[in-house]
Symmetry: C2
Subunit: 417 residues, 2 copies
């Protein structure tokens, strides 16, 4: 039997403990410690009587636990715990994507040095086994693109705006009430959460070493119901899409609201689900979908890692390759068709002013979309652009931002499928 010390008894932690008991006899694990700040208010009656409840991390590190399960959330304490556990000769399982995205190489090296297992399959897409799929099942291919829907909070909010026509703020409040968004949702909305997952995917699937702050991010905060109306006219929906693309030795990673064709699998992803699509040079597209968040699906991913960690004591399994990654040139030459939505005080000459700026930056206008009967004092309309670079677009949008006919900043989204 393998003893597990669980650190962080929140939603995932308690779901994991319940799952360990529900599947008793089907795995080689037993819960030895539960550690949490102010542990007394966390104590529950349904764990085995020999479980040690503690708020002392040193006590966990000095214990006879074989595996430490890190579910604390905060990156600094997580790093302390993770590196400490590996140094003390314990295997480590974590669901902390920021920890792995920032310190994965270092922790893997520590795990190797101390002959321990490091499992982080739950860091990306909760219950969806995409990391092992990329690493093992697609080892035969050379992946050139990995992307998809990596953040359930954004997907929940966007599908809510789409289905109920709610304003952004109301959709966010609903997500918070339903437990799909945190009190401070910035990491989800502004893309830091998806960026960390994308960096881990690029590392495992493409062997590219990249920190999450190199990912180009755009927030979904400016998406409104009118954007969905225009997107629908183009046969599209809007989703937060993350993409890592490898071209001519350069990698480009971006996260942000994007138009996806209504017929594509990405547009079918609703609520808090995740879908990841990898594209291989030889095998074409492969997709992995499922519950990207929530206590039970994440607990399943964590338990799968714990079982691997226990197997590691008998077989010396290869660790998920993380430190073998190469540095790569990061490019911001993300190319795409674009959808740009403006809100203006209408007057003659606006299109001509905008067209001048786009022409000046070498970009071609594909079409102009304006729904009839809208308020001229606060008029939303859309310009679609032919394929151009993210960098061209950014310069053009910056220049356009100075026009006094704008009621709000333009919202630009790539049309990715």
């Amino acid at each position: 039997v393998c003893k597990v010390a669980l650190v962080g008894f929140g939603t995932v932690g308690s779901a994991l403990a319940r799952l360990l008991y529900a599947r008793r006899g089907e795995h080689p694990l037993s819960l030895s410690h539960v550690c949490n700040r102010g542990v007394d208010r966390k104590k529950v009656g349904w764990t085995a009587s020999d479980v040690v409840w503690t708020d002392s991390i040193p006590q966990v590190l000095a214990s006879d636990a074989d595996i430490v399960l890190e579910l604390m959330g905060d990156i600094d304490s997580a790093y302390e715990l993770a590196s400490g556990a590996l140094r003390w000769g314990k295997s480590l399982v974590t669901a902390n994507k920021q920890l792995i995205a920032h310190f994965g190489s270092e922790l893997l090296q520590l795990a190797r040095d101390h002959g321990q297992y490091l499992g982080f399959g739950a860091c990306v897409a909760g219950g969806v086994p995409v990391l092992s799929g990329l690493q093992e099942g697609l080892a035969g291919d050379r992946l050139v693109q990995i992307g998809g829907i990596l953040n359930g909070t954004c997907n929940y909010i966007l599908t809510r705006i789409e289905q109920a026509g709610s304003p952004f703020s109301e959709a966010l409040r609903k997500a918070q009430q339903a437990g799909f968004a945190e009190a401070d949702p910035s990491f989800d909305l502004d893309g830091q959460d998806a960026a960390a997952k994308l960096a881990i995917l690029a590392r495992v699937g493409m062997k590219i070493a990249i920190l999450p702050d190199r990912v180009i991010r755009r927030s979904i905060r400016d998406v409104t119901a009118i954007d969905f109306e225009y997107a629908h006219e183009l046969g599209c929906s809007i989703r937060q899409i993350s993409t890592a693309t490898l071209r001519q030795g350069e990698v480009c990673l971006r996260v942000g609201p994007s138009l996806v064709s209504k017929g594509s699998p990405l547009a079918q992803v609703s609520g808090s689900q995740n879908l990841i699509v990898s594209t291989g040079e030889f095998g074409g597209e492969t997709s992995f979908g499922g519950q990207g968040a929530g206590g039970e699906p994440t607990a399943v991913a964590v338990l799968s890692d714990l079982i691997q960690a226990a197997n590691y004591r008998f077989h010396e399994l290869p660790l998920l390759e993380y430190s073998a990654a190469k540095e790569s040139l990061v490019s911001n030459r993300f190319e795409s068709r674009y959808f740009v939505r403006f809100v203006v005080r209408d007057r003659p000459g606006i299109i001509s002013s905008l067209a001048d700026v786009f022409a000046h930056h070498g970009m071609n206008i594909d079409a102009i979309h304006q729904r009839p009967g809208l308020d001229k004092a606060c008029l939303p309309f859309v310009i679609t652009l032919e394929t151009c670079c993210e960098s061209q677009l950014s310069s053009a949008i910056e220049e356009i931002g100075k026009f006094d006919f704008l009621v709000s900043a333009p919202l630009a989204m790539p049309i990715v499928q």
Copy 2:
């Protein structure tokens, strides 16, 4: 370097050899032998000069190859080669689903006895890494259903009937011309191919030992364009769906044409793609999609297995669990709503006769669908039934088969989503 002897130089075999060379330096493998009957007409100029071309399997077995790759197709010769290779202390990789579905347990035991690796990830769904996903990534869950679209040939034919309104025979001929169906397509159309894959999925994902001949099969040969018209009226499409369901300790496996809701991911699967959906008691639904057939995607899956086999020489990896499976009660109590299409010489009293039979077998009619303006001498119409058992339905259909107003045998399909 790990030496690979390739036996069977057809579509997948030559794609694999090309892939090995295209990714030279990115894997630890080298091709040492190519074995095929009448090897002289197979020889190509682009392999390394030290590759031994032979038509002698004994020569392969006696060689210094570390891994034998079995791509012959025929199950008896494949069994001879596979068991021989393992006994001679070589690892084995195969893409032969019939071999694994029938002799998987025995071969795994042989591999264990001789300390060798047995890889069969390419047996199910070509390039889609579903077996390792079920075995490792979802190890934490208890799977209660596994199913989906496992046969690209059927999917190609059905989507062609749907899109072009072609008769079945024409759609089949097109599939053969495009290389998606073999000269004798029975194994694909009548479900033996999908049944073998489903048995392997149930074994790896649910730990249930079952031979493919216990799978309930219905052919897609009787599906016509009119069935799609009626299915569309119900908001559905038609696909060959395979399902393994575990309920109260009994397992039910079936393969056959089925109605799936137009909005479901299964209905979006087109051409020769595969999609597998697993349902876990704790983690909910997880999906795996991609290229289910074709030389290159299958070669990617085979190369992934070869890389695992090479790793096995350094780490003693756990083998895909196959022999650990339990025998399980097989049930034919597959429950579903049903769509039954009749073609009749119209006259008064037909509905009443059919309704009597269904009532007699305890089944409730949900609705009757008849398109206007069809030929009364050869009239297709549809009865949908409320949830009932496959066994109830079979008895009713058998009794109905005796009516003299039928122009052809009725076609019954479950409505699965």
